[in-house]
Every structure is written in structure tokens, then in C-alpha cells.
Amino acid sequence: MNIDFKKILSGFMAILLIVNMFLYTRTMVLSDQMMKLEKDTNKLRVENSVLQQKLANNNSIENLNKLAQKYGFTKIDKPEYLDQLHFAFKVNHD
């Protein structure tokens, strides 16, 4: 039986080339996806930080004071306390 080394080598080289091309393309795609994920993660981290800051600013005493004033919740000088509520108290002004 004659072994056709030429054909075997050509076939082997062709398979090697195809596998190589497939792996290269796959690697490129995955690498690109990894890069994109890194960017997305970073973007989300920044957005999260901005939201956290906004939330803190909204809940800050300074902002709540502003809102209280805006909606007429300012404190009056001489509050009247209710006697019947056992947890309220009268201020002794003497």
C-alpha cells in the first residue's frame, strides 16, 4: 500500500489552519467581550456612586431643612404643647 505523504501533510496542514483560524477568531471575540464587560462594570460602578451621592444629598439635614421651609414646615417660635398627650410637655418660661 502506497502512503501518500503529500496528501496527509496537506490535509494535516489544512486542518491545522482551520483550527488555528477558529481558535484565533474565538479568542478575539472572547477578549473583546471581556473588555466590554470591564467597561460596563466600570460604568455601573460610576453610576452607582453618583446615585449613592444623590441619595445622600437628598437625605441630608441641609436638604431636608430646605424642603421643610419650601413646604411651610418651619418651626414656630412659641409652640403650644398638648397637655393630654402624656409624652408632650409644657415649657416653664419663668
Binding site: K6, T27, M35, V46, S49, Q53, A56, E62, H86, F89
Partner: protein
């Protein structure tokens, strides 16, 4: 066949060449080629831990901001670029123009851009501008707790480092540990999938949950500031704590600073006077000596003292503050009228050795070990250096020095059953593991029964005070005023005082203790007319806030 052999030989030669080259690079010239140009090593900066109040409201946490930099050589039409940037970052056209016209290859324009500003600058698509992401600590309540929190500055290496207050004390916990990642990347910066991927994990900083309540902090600061302006005092401090555990609910000293813009202030303002400044406590120290005498059974609560005139001690004459004398008075009355002469009598009954021992027991010369950076110990001279007059003046809080935190800590022991507690501001550390802080008893300084007696005495001291304060009706409040003259050049200056008031409520089971101190108030030198009204302003608001029922 000959041609095939030729190809095989050529192929083998090629492979041999490659193998030889690899052998040359990796073995023979290993030193020269040891660096991998594709291997990128990156330090992963850990996220700094945040600081939250007891209700989980943020007081300090990381925010992302950006450094805008320019490469002036690459920028054309600098005038137009200056105007465009100025519209967004508002730094000043002259400042931006001077930076863009610099001869340097790289120059920072501003390091305080937020995400929105960064996006707007990016949209301009100006060649020669770039950004670097930065992290800085953001304080949503701005200067509300400046002295308590401290600030984050830069160390010698340019890294963020906490200074003063909590951020100084807990720097290692807040900072975390940096990690290192080694990845092989191609020329475009994309990771090489089958390349090296080494990760040495770091650890983010731990979050701190404080014992402090930001609402209480706000109430205290607002009233302290109002008093500071009203009395034209040089500075002021107020501390609110739970006397049973000594967890600090609020701590504020004025004037203070904005921790975000700390470089704009002088260094001396960063020190927290509540833990770093000493003062002679004066009359608010008297209940501690009274309790010591009662505890050692040197006196009984039913004893009386004949207050006939000034007391002579070691060649000095000691008078009452108003130079008035009432004859036979009770022990409680000594506190009510804050009689220095009466206290000298108490001291003489207690005895010098016992007096010194109790001062030491109450921790006068020691730190409280509070978890804040910069605490100093008080001053208690060695006993060998004491003259007879020193024992006499110590009974009314002169000749010894304490910090405000020591004052409130020692006083709390009088009303909590006699336990000297370690004050603390951090209740929990959250990270990989959670650590819960617990109250720590340092020593038992007086017996429980003594505590009950002194509480009752302090209640009467408030009720029978000569100055009538805005006391909330239905509540039993104990307290004591103090007016200490300031020693200047070896003498006390009567025009310069430290006015203070310390008080607590409810008397039966104290829930809050408040100390208010003003240095050099101008409107009145007396604690009863300055610190005490502010104490009651704070207390009135806190009773409502905590919904503490009348007794």
C-alpha cells in the same frame, strides 16, 4: 520523493531554527528578555470604607470624581477651548488659559470634576484633553461632624490617608488592602485569553457604624452655635452620651471646618478640643468630690456644715463665689450654692490621701481611651508635689486639668451606679467580618447607693438653682454649673472664664448626659447664664426626639 524529502528537511530546519531562537531567548539571554512586554501589572486600589451614623445615614463615603488634564502642545485654538471648558467647570478663564498656555507636555486643569461635568467635556471632543478617575471622600452633611470624623488628606506617597477623629483612629480599617492583578494584554489593551491571569486579591476598607445620631448631632450643633454667637464666646464644645454605656450620641466643638475643603483652614482648627484640649473644670467637679466623701463614709448626706466665712488653707484664703455665707447648711446645699468653703470642709473630712486616690480612680491623669485620634491625658500632679492648698482647690475643680471627654466620662460614673466606662463612637465595623463593639467598664469608682444619693443631690441643685432656666415641666433633671477662671501667667484672670454645665435626665434611670462648655464668653462669665441655658435648649429638643416620658 526527492521533492517531499526536501520539504521535510526544510520544515525540520525551520522548526530547529525556531527552537534554537526560543532556546537563545529563554535560556541564554533570559536576563535580557525576562520582562514580559505584554504583562501588565495593575494595583487595585481598595474602596475606602464609609462612615454611617447609628441609623445607617451616610456621614462619609467615596465619590468618584475626575482629574481633567491637558497636553497643551496638542491643543489648537486654545482661546476657544478655554471658553468651552470654563462654561462647564467654572474654574476661571484666566486660570484655565494659563494652564493651557503652559510649555509643559502634561498639566492638570482641575481635579474636582463630577461625572456630569466629565461627560459634557467629553462631548466637546477636544483633542489634547483627557481624564483620570479619582476617588475622594464625600461628606453629605458637610461640616456637621467635622471634629468627630476628621478628614482624608494625602500622605507623602500621595495616597489618601485619614487624619484626626475617627478617620485618623480607624485609618487601617477604613483604607483596606490594595490588590494586584497581572494580565497579559495585546497591543490594543485587550486581555489575551490564554495568557497569564494572576490576581492577588485585596480587601476593601471596612464600613464604620457610629453610635452617633446625625439628628442629635444637628440639634446639639445648632444650639451650641446659637449660644456661641449669643455669648460671643471664643469657642465651645458639647457632648451628649448615654451615661450607662458611654456611647457618644453627639460630639461637636466650634469653630470647626469643612472636611472636604480642609486645605483652606489652619492646622490648629483640626484638633478636636473635646479630646485634645485641657481645662480646669471648676465647680462641675464638685459632685465628684462630694460623691467620693460619701462613698468613703467620711460624711453622711444628713451632715451639716457651719459656713461662717472664708477658709484659710496653707496661707491662702478661700471664699465663696459671692463672698456670702449662710451659717449652718446641708451637704446638698453646699452643691446647690456651689460653696467653695463647703467643699474645702468636705475635702478635709475626706483626707488628703483619700482625695488623691479618688481623683486617680476617676481617671483625672489618664486618657479615657476613646476611639478618636489625638486624645490627651489630663493633668494630675504626682502626690509628692502637692501643697496643702492644692488639696483644698482640687475639691472645687482647680489645680487639675481634664479634657471635656474625661469630664463627662467621670461624671457619668456618678449617675450610672458607679461604673467608670470607656467612651466610644464606633459601634460596629462591617467588612469581610463584622465586629460589634461592646461597652467596657474600666473600674467601679463608687458604690450604687452613693450614686443614688448624689443623683438626688444633683436634682435638688438644679431645682434650687438661683438662676431659673427653661426647664421642661414634669421631668426630673440633675446637673451642676461650673465657672472656672483661666490661669494666665501663674494667676487666674477673673474676666476670662470657662463656663460649663453638665446635666442628665431622667434622674431615676438616666438616659442622656449632656456637657456644654464655652470658653471666654463675653456676655456673662457664668456657666449658669451661658452653658446652662444652652443645655436646656438641647435637652428640650432631645426629650421630644427620644420621646422620653416625664417621671
Amino acid at each position: 520523493m526527492t521533492r517531499l524529502k526536501f520539504i521535510l528537511i526544510a520544515y525540520l530546519l525551520l522548526i530547529s531554527g525556531v527552537v534554537f531562537k526560543l532556546f537563545f531567548i529563554q535560556i541564554i539571554s533570559a536576563d535580557k528578555f525576562s520582562g514580559n512586554i505584554y504583562l501588565k501589572t495593575q494595583k487595585i486600589q481598595p474602596l475606602r470604607g464609609g462612615i454611617f451614623d447609628r441609623n445607617a445615614s451616610p456621614l462619609a463615603f467615596n465619590e468618584v470624581n475626575y482629574l481633567l488634564f491637558a497636553e497643551p502642545n496638542k491643543i489648537v485654538e486654545k482661546e476657544a477651548v478655554t471658553k468651552k471648558i470654563e462654561d462647564i467647570i467654572h474654574l476661571g478663564e484666566a486660570t484655565i488659559a494659563s494652564r493651557l498656555n503652559s510649555d509643559r507636555d502634561w498639566i492638570a486643569i482641575s481635579d474636582k470634576l463630577n461625572n456630569d461635568q466629565k461627560k459634557r467635556v467629553q462631548e466637546l471632543k477636544i483633542y489634547g484633553l483627557g481624564f483620570e478617575e479619582r476617588q475622594r471622600v464625600f461628606y453629605p452633611e458637610s461640616s456637621l461632624s467635622a471634629h468627630l470624623l476628621g478628614f482624608v488628606g494625602k500622605n507623602d506617597l500621595g495616597d489618601n490617608t485619614g487624619y484626626f477623629g475617627i478617620q485618623g483612629f480607624y485609618e487601617k480599617d477604613l483604607a483596606g488592602l490594595p490588590g494586584i492583578v497581572k494580565t497579559e494584554r495585546d497591543l490594543f489593551g485587550n486581555p489575551i485569553l490564554i495568557g497569564v491571569q494572576n490576581l492577588l486579591k485585596g480587601e476593601d476598607g471596612r464600613d464604620l457604624i457610629l453610635t452617633v445620631d446625625k439628628n442629635v448631632q444637628y440639634i446639639v450643633k445648632k444650639n451650641l452655635l446659637s449660644g456661641l454667637n449669643r455669648f460671643q464666646a471664643k469657642n465651645g464644645c458639647a457632648i451628649v452620651a448615654n451615661p450607662n454605656t458611654m456611647e457618644i450620641l453627639a460630639l461637636t466643638c466650634l469653630p470647626d471646618y469643612d472636611p472636604l475643603n480642609y486645605p483652606e483652614y489652619t492646622e490648629d482648627i483640626f484638633k478636636n478640643p473635646a479630646v485634645s484640649a485641657l481645662y480646669e473644670p471648676g465647680s462641675i467637679w464638685k459632685p465628684i468630690i462630694m460623691a467620693s466623701a460619701l462613698d468613703s463614709e467620711a460624711i453622711k448626706p444628713t451632715d451639716t456644715f457651719n459656713e461662717t466665712g472664708p477658709a484659710a488653707v496653707g496661707g491662702y484664703e478661700i471664699q465663696t463665689w459671692d463672698n456670702k455665707y449662710e451659717g449652718e447648711i446641708s451637704m446638698t446645699r453646699i452643691l446647690e450654692k456651689s460653696s467653695n468653703v463647703g467643699m474645702v470642709y468636705i475635702g478635709s473630712k475626706l483626707g488628703n490621701k483619700n482625695l488623691y486616690a479618688y481623683l486617680d480612680k476617676f481617671g483625672v491623669g489618664k486618657k479615657t481611651a476613646i476611639d478618636l485620634q489625638g486624645e490627651i491625658a489630663g493633668i494630675l500632679k504626682p502626690e509628692s508635689q502637692w501643697y496643702p492648698v492644692d488639696y483644698a482647690t482640687a475639691t472645687f475643680g482647680q489645680g487639675l486639668a481634664v479634657t471635656p471627654i474625661r469630664m463627662i466620662t467621670s461624671f457619668a460614673a456618678l449617675i450610672n451606679g458607679g461604673k467608670l466606662m470607656r467612651p466610644y463612637v464606633v459601634s460596629k465595623m462591617k467588612g469581610k467580618t463584622t465586629q460589634q463593639m461592646k461597652p467596657v467598664m474600666v473600674d467601679r469608682v463608687i458604690e450604687r447607693r452613693t450614686s443614688l444619693i448624689i443623683k438626688s443631690m444633683l436634682q435638688k441643685t438644679v431645682e434650687n438653682a438661683e438662676v431659673k432656666w427653661k426647664r421642661p415641666e414634669g421631668y426630673r433633671i440633675g446637673g451642676k454649673t461650673g465657672t472656672a477662671q483661666i490661669a494666665i501667667g501663674g494667676h487666674y484672670d477673673p474676666s476670662k472664664t470657662i463656663a460649663s454645665f453638665i446635666g442628665f435626665t431622667p434622674v431615676n434611670d438616666p438616659k442622656i448626659i449632656i456637657l456644654v462648655i464655652y470658653r471666654e464668653p463675653q456676655s456673662s462669665p457664668w456657666g449658669s447664664e451661658t452653658a446652662a441655658p444652652v443645655f436646656f435648649d438641647i435637652l428640650n429638643e432631645l426629650l421630644l426626639y427620644y420621646n422620653i416620658l416625664p417621671e
